[in-house]
Subunit: 321 residues, 2 copies
C-alpha cells in the first residue's frame, strides 16, 4: 500500500531530469518551451473496466493511455512534445502497481520521444489514467478536406486488436503465433508518429481509428461532405482464419472492432505514388482502400454480390446495442 | 439515458463558436493560437466519491473540476487560456445530468474567461471529470523562492469549505447564514485569477491551498529551504463558533481542512504595502500571517501558551490516518 506522496516520487523518477526549458515535476503548473506554430492539444482517458482487458498490466495500461493521445497526434501529422497524467488509483493500490505505472510512462516517453511534465494523483473506484498531450503545428490535417475522387487510404491492416480482445476477454481460440500478435496489438498498441508526420503533406483529410474503421470512414464522410466506396477490406494476416475458427463475423471484426491505432485518410490520386513512397521511407505502409465519392455520407463496399452498405458501427461509449 | 455522441453535442453547444485562431470541438486534436512566453499546463481530476459531496449537482461538479485547475493558475499569477475536459460517465447517465455538466463548463468559461476547446467521453463506474488547462507566461511564481524574513501571506480566510463539508457530509449544525456561506464555498469554489495576476510581481513563492493551509506552508518551507512562524490563524468569520457548537477542533478545520482555493505565498517585507494595495485594487485581500525563518522545514505558530508545531497534516490521497 502506498500514498499520494509516494506516487508522486515514482512519477518524478520516471520523468527523469527535465530537458532545458521544461519545468521539473512538482510545482502547481508545468511549463514547456514554445515552438513555432499554434499549440496542439489532446486529452484522453483510460478507464479500467472498459479499456483494460484481462491480462493487461498497470505498466501496459499507463503506456496505452499515452498511446491513445499519440494516435491522434499521429493522425494529424504532429509530433507530441510533452504530456501530463492524471491518475485515479484504487484505495490500497500497491507499490508494485505504482512502479508499474511509472515504468509504463517511461516506456511511452522512450517510444514516442515525448516528455512527462506533470500530473495529479487521486483515489478512484477503479484505475483511471487521464493523459493530456501538447505539441506545436502551424496547421494540422483536419477531417473535412476530402473531395470526391480522393483515394481512401489506411496505414495498416485491421482486425488484429479486436481478435486480441476476443482472445483475452472471451477465450477465443487461435493459432499460437497469431494469438501472440493479436494479444500484443491490444496490450502494446503502437501508433506511429513518424508515418503520420511523413504522410501529412499528402493527406487531404485524416483521423485515427480507435473507434473502428467503419466509424472513421463515416466520420470523415460527414465532415468532408463526401461518401466512400471501399473496394477491399484491409484484413490483417490471419484474421479471416481466426474469425472462421471461432464462428465470428470477419467483416465486423475488421470494420467495427475498435482499439485500432491506424490512420484513416484521403490522398489526391495524383499524389498517391509519392504518399506510398513517403510512408515506406518512414518505415510504414499505405494501403489504398477505395475512393471518396459525391454521395454525401454514403459509405459502401464492393463485394462479389454487389454494392453493400457499411453501417456506422463501432465503439460508442454509453451506447447499449 | 444518453450516449457518447449526444454528450459531444451538448459540449459543442456549451463551448459556443470558437474565437479566432481556436479550432472548433470535433477533430482529433484542438488548436490554440500562441501567445508570448512558455506554454503553461495543469491537469487535475475530480472523482465522484472523494470530490463530490452530497448535494453537489453535475453542473457544480463540472464547474469545480475547472476551478481546481484555475486555482493553480491563479497561485502562479497566470491567466488560463483554454481547457479540455475528459469525462468518465456512469452507464445510464441521463440527458439532464449531461446538460448539467455542459452548463457547468459554460459557467466556468464565463467566470474565468477561458475557452472549452475539446475533450473526450468515456464510461466509468463513478463520475470522473479530468480538466487540462493551458496558458502562456514567460515566468511563473514557483514554490522555491521564499527567503528568511519574507512575510507569509494568504489571499483569504480559511475554514469555510471544511465547515461546509461537515455540514453536507455529516449533518453538522450551523446558523443559517453561516451554513449558506459554508455550503456555497464547497459547491461553487471561486479561485480568483485577477488577484493572482495582480500579486504575482510581489510574490517570492506561492502555491494554492487545495490540500489545506498546513500542507501549503510545509510544502513551501521544504521547496524554499525555510521555516515559518505563524502569528495568527486566518479564521473565516463564524468558523470558531461553528467548531465550538459542533465540538470540532477549530485549529484543525483552519489548518488541515483542504478544499480551500486561497493563494498561500511570501512577499518581501519592503513590498508588503504595495502587495496589499495591488490585491485590494484587484478586488481581493491579502492577509499577513507571519514570517519565513531560517529553521528549514519547521512550521510553528505562536499561541498564548508559547510556540507550537503545525504538523504537516491535510489531505493526502490514498493515505489512511
Amino acid at each position: 500500500m502506498t500514498d499520494e506522496l509516494e506516487v508522486i516520487a515514482a512519477m518524478v523518477k520516471a520523468a527523469g531530469k527535465p530537458p532545458s526549458g521544461y519545468t521539473a515535476i512538482g510545482d502547481d503548473v508545468a511549463m514547456v518551451p514554445p515552438r513555432p506554430g499554434r499549440v496542439v492539444m489532446k486529452t484522453d482517458m483510460l478507464v479500467e473496466h472498459t479499456d483494460m482487458p484481462p491480462g493487461m498490466t498497470y505498466r501496459q495500461a499507463a503506456r496505452k493511455a499515452v498511446a491513445m493521445c499519440v494516435s491522434d497526434f499521429a493522425a494529424k501529422g504532429t509530433r507530441p512534445d510533452a504530456f501530463m497524467v492524471s491518475l485515479g488509483l484504487r484505495s490500497g493500490v500497491g507499490k508494485g502497481e505504482v512502479d508499474g505505472l511509472a515504468r509504463g510512462l517511461r516506456d511511452a516517453e522512450e517510444r514516442w520521444g515525448t516528455h512527462l511534465i506533470g500530473g495529479d494523483t487521486n483515489e478512484a473506484e477503479e484505475l483511471v489514467i487521464g493523459c493530456s498531450m501538447v505539441g506545436f503545428a502551424h496547421k494540422v490535417v483536419d477531417r473535412a478536406g476530402a473531395s470526391p475522387g480522393d483515394v481512401a487510404v489506411v496505414t495498416g491492416q485491421f482486425g488484429l486488436p479486436p481478435a486480441g480482445l476476443k482472445i483475452l476477454m472471451a477465450g477465443a481460440r487461435a493459432e499460437a503465433h497469431f494469438a501472440q500478435r493479436a494479444r500484443k496489438s491490444v496490450l502494446r498498441p503502437d501508433p506511429d508518429i513518424e508515418v503520420g508526420v511523413a504522410l501529412a503533406p499528402y493527406l487531404t483529410a485524416s483521423m485515427d481509428s480507435s473507434d473502428g474503421l467503419a466509424r472513421s470512414l463515416h466520420t470523415l464522410a460527414k465532415a468532408s461532405g463526401v461518401g466512400f466506396v471501399v473496394e477491399r477490406l484491409p484484413a490483417a494476416e490471419g484474421v479471416m482464419e481466426f474469425a472462421a475458427a471461432n464462428a465470428l463475423d470477419a467483416d465486423k471484426l475488421i470494420l467495427e472492432g475498435g482499439e485500432e491505432y491506424v490512420i484513416v485518410g484521403t490522398v489526391k490520386p495524383t499524389e498517391i505514388r509519392a504518399a506510398l513512397k513517403a510512408a515506406r521511407k518512414a518505415g510504414g505502409e499505405l494501403i489504398p482502400l477505395g475512393r471518396a465519392t459525391e454521395r454525401k455520407g454514403e459509405v459502401v463496399r464492393l463485394t462479389e454480390g454487389g454494392v453493400k452498405d457499411i453501417r456506422d458501427g463501432g465503439w460508442t461509449h454509453l451506447r447499449r446495442s
